[in-house]
């Protein structure tokens, strides 16, 4: 099993909404577990189950966010755009989980994709709805 330096949660990912931040931190734990999944044939089932787990967690997290956006009256167009991002993420992870990456463990490929996706999505899209929430609270 590879011993890799875990990817670190950074303060800039925190949005100040406790439940969402908690769930984002769990996603980081999942990414790091995926990176530790051993490569090679015997571990393929383990990798497959780990990726299935990730998809379930992502759906759980996205439904929390979607409910939050509805509760705060986030504009419909923005909500639909955000949900579109979520759906695209799930599709992409499922595709990656099916494709063989030449010489590259599939769990590692998925972990890298998830890390890149979330570190871009959180400061742009998620910060978007959090700011809308704050504006409403202060209004």
């Amino acid at each position: 099993m590879e011993d890799r330096e875990p990817l670190a949660w950074k303060a800039e990912y925190a949005l100040g909404v406790p439940e969402v931040d908690r769930q984002h931190q769990e996603l980081f734990r999942i990414i790091n577990r995926l990176r530790q999944t051993p490569a090679g044939a015997p571990a393929e089932h383990a990798a497959k189950r780990a990726i299935e787990g990730l998809v379930h967690y992502a759906r759980y997290h996205f439904s929390t966010e979607e409910a939050f956006m509805l509760d705060i009256g986030y504009p419909d167009a923005d909500l639909q755009a955000h949900n579109g991002q979520h759906q695209e993420f799930v599709r992409k992870v499922e595709d990656l989980g099916r494709i063989e990456h030449e010489g590259r463990p599939v769990a590692e490929a998925v972990a890298e994709f998830v890390y890149q996706w979330f570190t871009q999505h959180i400061p742009v899209f998620d910060r978007g709805y959090v700011e809308a929430y704050r504006r409403r609270k202060d209004a």
Binding site: A46, A50, L54, Y57, Y60, A67
Partner: protein, 138 residues
């Protein structure tokens, strides 16, 4: 929220595996969310969301546990037995979702079932693998 949770997670349910204990606490939180949303007039949307969360989170949690079984080399028969319990739970909860899709509202029965299942399962089957896991780290 008025008062405490209907089905609180208790410290005696802790198994000593931080990831697993955290996930059991989260499951407990979702069950309580489901209880709060169930049986309310015009509460169907919230109840449906809580039910979907329960299914997705439970499936995530069960996948995490299967990873641990592999890590500690739990005997195949034990793994099969444990997975069967997990699958039975998911089937039952999805059954409630099917009923909802056919117009039957979610009553308080689902949350009560899930809470009881969680306590029984955690204190028996999960405790067994937790002991194996911790033995391996002594």
């Amino acid at each position: 929220m008025r008062g405490g949770a209907k089905f609180p997670w208790k410290p005696e349910h802790a198994l000593g595996l931080p990831d697993v204990d955290r996930q059991h606490q989260e499951l407990s939180r979702i069950v309580n969310e489901l209880h709060a949303a169930s049986g309310k007039i015009k509460g169907e949307a919230a109840a449906r969301r809580a039910l979907e969360k329960l299914i997705n989170y439970a499936c995530y949690h069960f996948a995490t546990e299967e990873g641990i079984f592999q890590e500690i080399g739990l005997p195949k028969a034990k793994v099969r037995e444990h997975i069967q319990h997990h699958e039975e739970f998911v089937r039952k909860v999805k059954g409630f979702r099917d009923a909802l899709d056919h117009g039957d509202p979610i009553g308080s029965g689902l949350a009560a079932f899930a809470a009881e299942w969680l306590v029984n399962h955690t204190s028996k089957l999960d405790l067994e693998y937790a002991r194996e896991y911790l033995k391996g780290r002594e």
